[in-house]
């Protein structure tokens, strides 16, 4: 068992899962470093939850290998050891609705063999801001509060790797922000977080790296890396009046790969390096007598990356 401080928290090699004839995901390979917040993005049915369930030892992989928190997936004993080191918050909270919040957490503390669980439960409740609801029946809580209880439950064992499946699903913006702050805190405390989400802004804000999955792994990297990989950099210039001879201004500039009009008084220039081109572009415009209203780097969001990779494409054939 790999247990070095530098070993990845998760190491997945060629993992594949079939349900009979259907393929949930195929040939997935990636590593997640210790203390990293890793996003798993993809459309419904892309295999995100099945991947998490496999890594959480709930499902057996059809082929491939994985090492989770230093323990290779395999036997029942390895499964128990992995489950000792990780926690999973499933998309549905799965609480005992006829029991109180504290009873729910107390039960799970016992399942995780936590000695003197009281302080652990208090800390988990405090982390999700539910201390004052500890004695409420879970059935009386709103969907958002139930989600927070489920999150508190996942925090109880102080996991090495925490899998969060759509953690902000059903939460209002304020509650979602609390969860984001919590994930930031977890990152700071060295917990590895694997986050599946449909909220691309959330992934962009929280994740060190993301993987886009649609049965196969489409891409993996830092959000800015993915943007750079998929989209060329561009500068957008807005002027008071259109240029009489724009080709005379833009074509001679070093570093400009192409250019075009993107509005009546707006031009878009594809460049290799925005910082290198921007000063000479301003000088050229001023020399040409143009009045510059604004100049900005065109930004692409993770959503653009996602849409580019899986947005309009039909879901991969699952055979």
């Amino acid at each position: 068992m790999a247990d070095s401080a530098t070993a990845p928290a998760l190491s997945v090699r060629g993992l594949t899962k079939h349900f009979g004839e259907r393929t949930a995901y195929r040939d997935i390979t990636f590593d997640v470093g210790q203390g990293e917040v890793f996003g798993l993005l993809g459309p419904n049915g892309a295999g995100k939850t099945t991947t998490v369930r496999t890594l959480g030892t709930l499902l057996r992989p059809s082929s491939g290998t994985a090492v989770v928190a230093g323990v290779p997936l395999g036997s029942d004993d390895a499964g128990v050891e992995i489950r000792r080191r990780i926690a999973i918050m499933p998309e549905a909270p799965g609480l005992y609705l006829r029991q109180t919040v504290r009873d729910n957490l107390s039960f799970f503390a016992d399942l995780y063999d936590i000695d003197k669980p009281g302080p652990h439960i208090d800390r988990a409740l405090e982390a999700v801001k539910l201390t004052d609801r500890a004695n409420d029946m879970c059935g009386s809580l709103s969907k958002g509060l139930r989600q927070r209880v489920a999150l508190a439950r996942a925090l109880l064992p102080r996991p090495v790797v925490l899998f969060l499946d759509e953690p902000t699903s059903g939460l209002d913006p304020a509650a979602a922000r609390d969860v984001h702050e919590l994930i930031d805190d977890l990152r700071r405390s060295g917990v590895t977080v694997v986050l599946t989400t449909h909220r691309l802004t959330e992934a962009e804000r929280l994740c060190d790296r993301v993987a886009i999955l649609n049965t196969t792994l489409r891409t993996i990297g830092r959000p800015d890396e993915l943007r750079d990989r998929l989209f060329s950099k561009a500068l957008v210039v807005k002027l008071v009046e259109p240029l009489a001879h724009p080709e005379a201004v833009f074509s001679p500039l070093a570093g400009v790969e192409s250019w075009g009009g993107s509005g009546p008084c707006e031009y878009s220039l594809v460049v290799a390096n925005t910082k290198a081109v921007a000063p000479s572009l301003v000088r050229a415009l001023v020399s040409a007598g143009a009045d510059v209203l604004s100049m900005a780097e065109r930004s692409h969001s993770l959503e653009d990356v996602y849409m580019e990779l899986v947005g309009d494409a039909p879901k991969e054939e699952r055979q």
Binding site: G56, L58, E81, A92, L111
Partner: protein, 239 residues
């Protein structure tokens, strides 16, 4: 110790859940009432002259149907109920093993069943002692029958629990699971009823054979149900 701790946690969680679960309370009340009221009414209306007939019968064995039916219903809900509520998946993500989970759930079905069965039996004897015609109670309450009740109650209950759980691991609807579990325990109820009605002679050899058979089934039950408890199938609903 940790294994026991997790099984104990499951046990207490189940008991907490029972208290507020209408289906469970219904199962624990209705079956015992059915098997209590009818014989009480019958015995209270029997005259003292019938005592010599009762002395040669084993009517009390009839009440062993309670430990066969009640835990079957409780156990049949144990897995499929959790699956339906969505609580099974979070539990399976913890270090708890199949055996610990099943053991905790089995104990949670067994202990209330034994308490209810002995309690109902005691109540039955008390009512007969207090209100039946003279001579009925001594004719009815015979040591072999009391011993049979004492020994066969837990043996039958454990067997019924494994049957109920086996059904529960394979069903996707709690109501169907309950019906199938009751149906599957009927052979045991049939045996006890046939003994009670004198169709099967109540001999020591019969009791021993029945007891040993149940003990063997009880012993292998956990292993069989553990093998049937497939995490993957339960989580992903694949068949």
């Amino acid at each position: 110790m940790k294994k026991l701790r997790r099984a104990r946690a499951v046990f207490f969680k189940e008991l907490r859940d029972y208290k507020r679960n209408g289906n469970v309370i219904y199962a624990m009340v209705i079956f015992p009432l059915i098997f209590l009221i009818q014989p009480i009414v019958e015995l209270l209306t029997v005259s003292s002259g019938a005592s010599h007939v009762l002395r040669h019968e084993h009517s009390l064995v009839y009440m062993l149907a309670i430990p066969a039916l009640v835990p079957a219903v409780l156990a049949s809900y144990a897995v499929v109920g959790e699956r339906l509520q969505g609580t099974l998946e979070p539990v399976l993500t913890t270090p708890v093993t199949r055996e610990e989970l099943l053991l905790g759930k089995a104990l949670a079905a067994l202990i209330p069943t034994v308490v209810v069965s002995y309690g109902v039996f005691g109540l039955f004897i008390a009512v007969v002692e207090l209100f039946a015609h003279p001579g009925i109670a001594p004719a009815l309450v015979q040591w072999p029958d009391l011993l049979a009740q004492l020994i066969f109650t837990p043996l039958l209950a454990v067997w019924a629990i494994w049957v109920g759980m086996a059904v529960s691991t394979r069903c996707s609807d709690p109501r169907t699971a309950g019906q199938l579990a009751v149906f599957a325990t009927l052979p045991a109820v049939a045996v006890t009823s046939l003994i009670a009605f004198g169709v099967i002679p109540a001999k020591l050899q019969v009791a021993l054979g029945f007891g040993i058979g149940l003990a063997v089934l009880d012993r292998v039950g956990l292993r069989v149900v553990s093998a049937m408890f497939d995490r993957e199938r339960l989580v992903s609903s694949t068949r």
